[in-house]
Symmetry: C2
Subunit: 455 residues, 2 copies
């Protein structure tokens, strides 16, 4: 809603180089809303607007931008300018961003960052991707045990501006040992002269720095926590993971299962941001394996039907029947993969930056690659394993090629059409895509055969 | 971990009727951890332990129990006892629970609840299931505009015990109109004599009471909120939705897509809690439709292959080939549905209460029903549409029956076997289940035919 209203104004400001207007724009909305509006602009424009904002506001807005867009902005930004932003960023968001940049890029940026922040960055970057350490922030509020509630609140006021949350305060003993936790709610309710030691909860639920992010998410979700402390093997506090990191982890976890269901090795990034060759690779392996299983079915069919080798006459198209499961499965499986990726992409990605056409084109290109691989497999198996003639094998190979290509394109176009009609694209279930591909696959198969061998 | 350690102690306490011991047990752990331990016991035992706890602690533990278990406990509990618990429950958890009970049950309980709470219950129950109103709580912290920060903190101390969160405080004008919001963090940082009116943020981001829970979840996740205010059409504050409600909504939303992908009309409840006939119904509709598409493929195959009617001789098994797509698709689709439900169920449900055997048995039973329906369809289509002989039609029908049954059982057993071997059951992708069912489906098809018509 904001988007339609404010974007024209922004364009005008950019043309007039109205720095004051842009600075005012940065301040008027919640930073998340501002980030959403900026998301529709060119990266260069976004950076110009951000540069007009005061540093603290710039940070807030920047942190709400999607990670891929942040990466694009780094490429666009002046290095010294950007290092300033990097210094003030929350430690977890900063680590996420730096993990996505090339190593040379990071090494060029780090010398420009203040020493304290630099150490923090190096520490967080050293944790493996799939650990609590990789998603935690080091900006937690902490107190020693031996203070009164009144003093605790005073100290919190000083810490507050730099902390991700002050609603949980961690009580640390010698060497940052995690001895207890007290909530701001408890501090507010207690008398100022009460002792924090009496108030704090000593049975702290924490996670280990090398725990899987999924486990961390489960702990936060199970206990309805706003944040959970992260400790090392000596129970020393090293960071916290906050509730807002959980949504992504929960969603990512299920998303991986969704992709596995469609016989896709889970992609690490967004589908639209993953290079084509990676997408093809993650899909091709499973498709080849499934093709092999279909060839076992062919073998069994040959046993029962007796159709096959070039020497037999039997019934004219026995050799075609044998390969029917391979033809249908290849198209159906490739189509299911496409439909799954496209449907989930429609559900999660902002279409402002990626058009429908681009999705279909991507699937077409993936289809060209996967079709080629599977066609070669089908051709080879027909010729060598099942001893068909060269022409017959060519029919099998070309049909597989066409059917896979049709599968990927239908798998993309059908859900998109449903979405554009305002219907739920997920109605296009993968079995339905497979069934539709089956119908057309049979027509393609016999048409190719008619042209090639006059069956 | 706690579970193995503490359950034996609990058993002993239950046997000794050691009320003091049980009360101590309620108090020693975080209520979420206690709830997890109780989850493994019989409902009667759970209620006995809960009855030993002080009311406030009983409420906390009870709210962390799974909703289906809460429903079982209501059936077990004394009505007057339970109404006390109901009075102190958070308004959103209470509304969720009452929405799952029979109307008569609710009408019997309501007179036992205090009038103020009763009105609150009736109001929350009146919102449709798929609205913000259904997931919100009415326990928010609020203040008038014309107070100082010091006074605000004093008032908050009084409100705090009954509020779900005091980290966001809503500033209300005439008729509970939502005029602003201030965070506890901002209040703590401000001087006591400052005015809340100056401090508060007037550009409040809120959701409407009739908004879809998914939209509410998106707002909370996008802005990293701890809670979002819910307003009616006159911008009057009626409740808040807190961050912990979002995890469920996000997960539910993707879960629905997962089921749709497998051609299952999304189930409203957990798979294992949904009655068998509902599961069969939500799957059967799609399977019938997919069977119809497979029959269109059969029609096309008949056109090309010429096999078919009982009068033709041509090649001996032409009629069998036509129905190959139906046979393979029926088994594969039913198997994919089973694998999807079982895998997601393994990922989300506590297996303490539902054994592996029960899952396989469920799928076997669903297979009996779905197999029957699809077999009848196949038999009818073969006999009437494709004019096969009665015996040939019987071969098609019985094969479909056996293949569907095999599909559902394999779809359950394979993922469970992987899980028990400590591997990720999601590796059993639906195309892989379909491919394996294909292999065995062909064997079943020709074996049945050999027995029946001696092909």
């Amino acid at each position: 809603m904001y988007k339609q209203l404010l974007q024209p104004d922004l364009w005008q400001m950019l043309q007039d180089e109205d720095e004051a207007g842009m600075a005012a724009f940065c301040d008027v909305l919640h930073p998340a809303a501002t980030a959403e509006i900026l998301d529709g602009l060119e990266t260069e424009q976004i950076w110009r607007i951000l540069s007009s904002c005061p540093l603290e506001r710039r940070r807030e807005i920047f942190e709400f931008l999607d990670l891929p867009l942040q990466v694009e902005l780094v490429d666009r930004a002046d290095r010294t300018e950007f290092s300033k932003l990097l210094e003030v960023m929350s430690s977890d968001d900063r680590a996420d961003l730096l993990a996505k940049l090339d190593t040379e890029h990071v090494e060029a940026l780090l010398p420009l960052v203040a020493a304290a922040e630099r150490n923090d960055i190096r520490k967080l970057l050293s944790f493996p991707d799939d650990s609590a350490g990789a998603i935690m922030t080091t900006e937690y509020a902490s107190l020693p045990e031996e203070v009164s509630v009144g003093e605790a609140l005073d100290r919190l006021r000083k810490q507050a501006p730099e902390r991700e949350t002050i609603y949980y305060v961690y009580i640390l003993g010698h060497g940052r040992r995690l001895d207890g936790v007290v909530s701001l709610r408890e501090l507010i309710l207690a008398k100022p002269e009460a002792s924090v030691a009496d108030l704090m909860n000593r049975d702290v639920i924490s996670v280990r720095v090398d725990d899987d992010p999924e486990e961390v998410a489960q702990v936060i979700a199970r206990y309805d926590f706003i944040a959970v402390p992260v400790v090392d093997e000596r129970n020393q506090l090293v960071g916290i993971v906050t509730h807002d990191d959980v949504y992504d982890v929960v969603a990512e976890e299920i998303e991986e299962d969704v992709q596995r269901f469609a016989a896709i090795e889970p992609l690490e990034d967004d589908y639209l941001l993953t290079p084509l060759r990676i997408v093809a690779w993650k899909r091709g392996g499973w498709l080849m394996f499934l093709a092999f299983v279909a060839l076992v079915t062919a073998q069994i069919l040959q046993y029962y039907e007796g159709g096959g080798g070039p020497d037999e006459a039997g019934n004219a198209t026995g050799w075609m029947i044998m390969f029917l499961p391979l033809v249908l499965a290849s198209g159906g499986n490739a189509g299911s993969q496409s439909a799954t990726l496209v449907i989930r992409s429609l559900a999660t990605t902002d279409r402002g930056r990626f058009g429908y056409g681009r999705m279909v084109l991507r699937e077409f290109n993936v289809g060209l690659v996967l079709g080629g691989v599977l066609a070669a497999t089908g051709f080879g198996a027909a010729l060598v394993w099942f001893q068909l003639t060269g022409m017959q094998s060519l029919v099998v190979g070309s049909t597989v090629y066409l059917v896979v290509l049709m599968g990927t394109v239908i798998g993309a176009i059908f859900p998109i059409t449903f979405e554009r009609q305002g219907m739920d694209p997920a109605i296009m279930s993968t079995p339905l895509i497979a069934a539709l591909v089956d119908v057309m696959g049979v027509v393609i198969y016999y048409s190719v055969a008619a042209v090639a061998v006059g069956t």
